[in-house]
Amino acid sequence: MRRFYAILIAAALVYMLISFISTVPSYGKADLKERVSDAFLSKSVNAQNTKAWMEGKAIHRQPAKEIYGKKVKEEGSANVVTSIVVNYRSFDTLGEVTVLFTAALGVGLILGGSRRKQYGREANFVLKTSTGILVPLIIMFGAYIFVHGHLTPGGGFPGGTIIAMASLLLYLSDEKFFLSKASTGALEGSMGGTYVIIGLLGLAIGGYFLYNFLPNGVVGNLVSAGIVPLVYVAIGLKVGAELSGLVTDLHSEKEG
C-alpha cells in the first residue's frame, strides 16, 4: 500500500515537472543569444552594455570571430567552461571548493578516526604490484588534467579526483598505508589559502576580488589565460588532498 501511494505521489510529481518543462525551450532549441552564454563564448563580456543587454534591445547577436590562437584581451582559456568556472564565475568555484572542504572537515569531525582501520584481509599480488606501477602514472595523469584545465576538458576537480584515486588505490592495496591528517590538511589548507590569496591579490591590484591580474597570452597555449591555470592547479591539489583525506577518514577508526 505504501508503495502504491509512493508511486502515485512520484507519478504526480513527474506529471507536474513535465508540465513545468513546457516553460523551457524545447530540447536542442536553446537560443544562446538570449543568454549570457554568447558573451562568454565570444569572450566579449566587457564589450556589452549591461543596460541595453538587460532591456533586450542590444545586439544580442555576437559577431563571428577568430579566437583560437589569437590574443584575446578579455579572457584567454580555450576551454570556455573553464573560463566560466574559474574566471567569469570563479566565486561559485570558491564556494564549491568550500563545500568540498566542509564535507572533508565534517567527515573528519564525525568519524573522528585517528588510526588505520584493519580489515584483516591481505590484498593480492596483482593489486599490490600494479598499484606500485600505476600510482605514479595516475598522479601524473591527474596533474596533467588540471594543468591543462584551461585547454582541454577537465580541470582542477577531475584532476584532483584522479589524484585521490591514487591514494584510494594505495589504501586498498596496503593495510598499513596511512596518510597523516596533518599532511593532507596542510596541503588542503595551503592550497585553499592560495586560491583566496590569488583572489585577494586581484582585489589589491585590480580592485575586484578574483580579478585576473596576469596577462592572458594566446588562446590555446599552455601558458595563457592569466590566473586560470594557477587557480586550477591550486584547486587540483586541494581537491586531491581533500578527497585523499576523505578516503583516509573513511578508512580510519578511533583509538582504543
Partner: protein, 464 residues
C-alpha cells in the same frame, strides 16, 4: 571591501586546516575582524562589488544595500558572541568559520546560483554542527531534507536561467518572466527556501537539530534563521515581487499554529524552544507576505527581537540541559541566567516592558489598519499558547523544588552576555527606533526593486 566578509573567514578556515590547534584563536580573530569590517562598511551602503571585474549580469556580484547590511550585521554579531564560548565551540571552530562565510555570502550575493552554492554550504555546515553530541540521526534527517530542498532550489534557479538568460537577481527582477514560468519558479523557490526558513510541513528537521546539542541552536536559530528569512524577503519581494505571496501567507499562518501547538506538547526544553522558533518564523513570514513597507519592516523588527530572545534562551537552556539531570528549580542556583531567561521569554510572549511587545502590537495594529482580521486572530491565539508553555517552563525552572542537588559553577561569561542581551530587550522596548529605523530601511530596500536593479546596473557602468 564587502567581499572580505566572506573571504576572510574562509582563508582563516583554510589556515585552521593547516594547524588544528590555531583554529579557535583564528575563529575569534575572524569574527572580531568581521564585526569590525561590518561596522566600517556602514559608510559604503549601498554598493555593489563585481567579482573578478565581470560586470553583471555576466559575472557574479555582491550587493550591499540596507537590507543585506542589516542581515550581515546581525549574523556577524551573533557569530562573534558564539565564538566567545570556547567550551561550547569545541572542535567546531573551523566549521563555524566556514558557516560564517556562507551566511555572509548567502546574504550578500546578487546571483541566484551563487546563493544556491552558499545555501548548500549552510546546509552542510549545519549538518556538521547538528551532529555534535552524537546527534547523528537528526543530522542525517536534516541532510536529506536540506539537500532535497537544495535540489528544488537548483531546479528553480535553472528555470529562471532558461527564462531570463542569466542568473543575476537584478536581471531576473528586471525581466518580465512569463506568467506560467514564474509560477513554476516561485513554487520551487518556496519549497527550496522554505526548508531553511522553517515553513510548515518542511520544518521537520528543526526540533532534531535545535534540540540535539548545545552549539547548533545558538547559530542555527539565530544567524542562519535570519539569513534564510532575509533571503525569503529578497527573493519574493525584490526579485519575484509579489508572486506566490498568498501561498506564503497561508503556509505561514499554518506554521504559526502548528509550531505553537507542537511546542505546547513538548516536554523537552530545547525542543520546546525549537518549535517556538518555528512559530516565530511563521509570524515573520506571514508579515513578509503582506509586502507592505510597514509590515515588512515589522517582520524584520520582530525577527530581530526573536533572534535576540532566542539567543539568550538557547544560551541559558543549553547550559542547563547539559549540566543538570533534572531542571526543577535550577534558577535558584543561577539567578542571573534565570532572570535573563525570564526576560527573554516574556519578550517572546510580548509582555510590555520587553521588546516583543513593541513588534507584536505594532504588527497587530498594522494588520487591523489594512483590515486583515485573520492574522491578528491567529497571532493572538498563538500568543496564548506560547504564553502557556513559556510560563510553564519559567515556573518550573524557578519555583519547583530542587531535585538535582549538584551545583555547577556559575558560568560568568554566559551570564554576562545573556543578561546584557536581556537588558537590550528592555532597551528596545523603551527605544524601539534603534531597531525600527534600520528595519524600515530594510523593508524599503527589499520592496524597492527598481533601485536594486539600478544599483547593480550602475556598478557595471562605473566600476565599484
Amino acid at each position: 571591501m564587502m567581499v572580505l566578509l566572506i573571504v576572510l573567514p574562509l582563508i582563516f578556515a583554510f589556515l585552521a586546516a593547516i594547524k588544528k590547534s590555531f583554529s579557535y584563536p583564528l575563529l575569534v580573530t575572524s569574527t572580531v575582524v568581521n564585526v569590525i569590517i561590518v561596522l566600517l562598511l556602514k559608510t559604503s551602503v549601498p554598493s555593489v562589488h563585481v567579482l573578478g571585474g565581470w560586470k553583471p549580469p555576466f559575472g557574479i556580484n555582491l550587493v550591499l544595500d540596507d537590507a543585506s547590511y542589516y542581515a550581515v550585521l546581525i549574523a556577524n554579531i551573533v557569530f562573534f558572541l558564539v565564538a566567545l564560548f570556547k567550551e561550547t565551540v569545541g572542535k567546531y571552530s573551523t566549521v563555524l568559520m566556514v558557516m560564517l562565510a556562507a551566511v555572509n555570502g548567502f546574504v550578500l550575493t546578487g546571483d541566484l546560483f551563487n546563493s544556491f552554492v552558499f545555501l548548500e554550504i549552510l546546509t552542510a555546515t549545519g549538518v556538521i554542527l547538528a551532529s555534535k553530541r552524537e546527534n547523528y540521526y537528526n543530522a542525517f534527517k536534516y541532510l536529506v531534507l536540506g539537500s532535497l530542498a537544495g535540489s528544488m532550489y537548483l531546479l528553480a534557479t535553472i528555470f529562471t536561467y532558461t527564462q531570463v538568460g542569466s542568473l543575476n537577481m537584478a536581471h531576473a527582477s528586471y525581466f518580465a518572466i512569463s506568467e506560467k514560468a514564474i509560477v513554476v519558479i516561485t513554487i520551487l523557490y518556496l519549497v527550496g527556501l522554505g526548508v531553511e526558513a522553517k515553513l510548515f510541513p518542511l520544518n521537520g528537521w528543526v526540533s532534531g537539530v535545535y534540540g540535539g546539542n548545545d552549539l547548533s541552536p545558538l547559530v542555527m536559530a539565530t544567524a542562519v534563521s535570519f539569513a534564510a528569512l532575509y533571503m525569503m524577503g529578497r527573493l519574493f519581494l525584490t526579485v519575484f515581487g509579489g508572486y506566490a505571496l498568498h501561498i506564503l501567507y497561508v503556509l505561514a499562518l499554518i506554521t504559526i499554529v502548528a509550531g505553537e501547538l507542537a511546542a505546547l506538547y513538548q516536554k523537552n526544553l530545547l525542543k520546546t524552544l525549537a518549535y517556538s522558533s518555528i512559530a516565530q518564523a511563521g509570524i515573520v513570514l506571514a508579515a513578509i507576505s503582506k509586502s507592505t513597507e510597514k509590515m515588512v519592516s515589522l517582520a524584520y523588527f520582530h525577527l530581530t527581537n526573536d533572534v535576540i530572545a532566542k539567543f539568550v534562551l538557547f544560551l541559558v537552556a543549553t547550559f542547563l540541559v547539559y549540566n543538570y539531570k533534572n531542571l526543577n528549580g535550577v534558577f535558584k542556583k543561577h539567578k542571573v541566567l534565570g532572570t535573563a531567561f525570564t526576560i527573554s521569554s516574556m519578550s517572546l510572549i510580548g509582555f510590555p516592558l520587553f521588546a516583543g511587545f513593541q513588534s507584536k502590537l505594532r504588527m497587530l495594529m498594522e494588520m487591523f489598519k489594512t483590515s486583515d482580521y485573520l492574522f491578528p486572530a491567529v497571532l493572538l491565539f498563538a500568543t496564548v499558547i506560547e504564553l502557556t508553555y513559556l510560563v510553564r517552563w519559567n515556573v518550573k525552572l524557578w519555583f519547583e523544588d530542587i531535585e538535582d542537588e549538584s551545583e555547577v559553577k556559575g558560568p560568568a561569561l554566559r551570564a554576562t552576555i545573556s543578561i546584557i542581551l536581556a537588558i537590550l530587550l528592555v532597551g528596545i522596548f523603551l527605544a524601539p527606533n534603534i531597531i525600527l529605523n534600520p528595519t524600515t530601511k530594510v523593508a524599503k530596500a527589499l520592496l524597492d526593486s527598481t533601485s536594486y536593479i539600478n544599483n547593480v546596473i550602475a556598478s557595471s557602468m562605473g566600476g565599484m
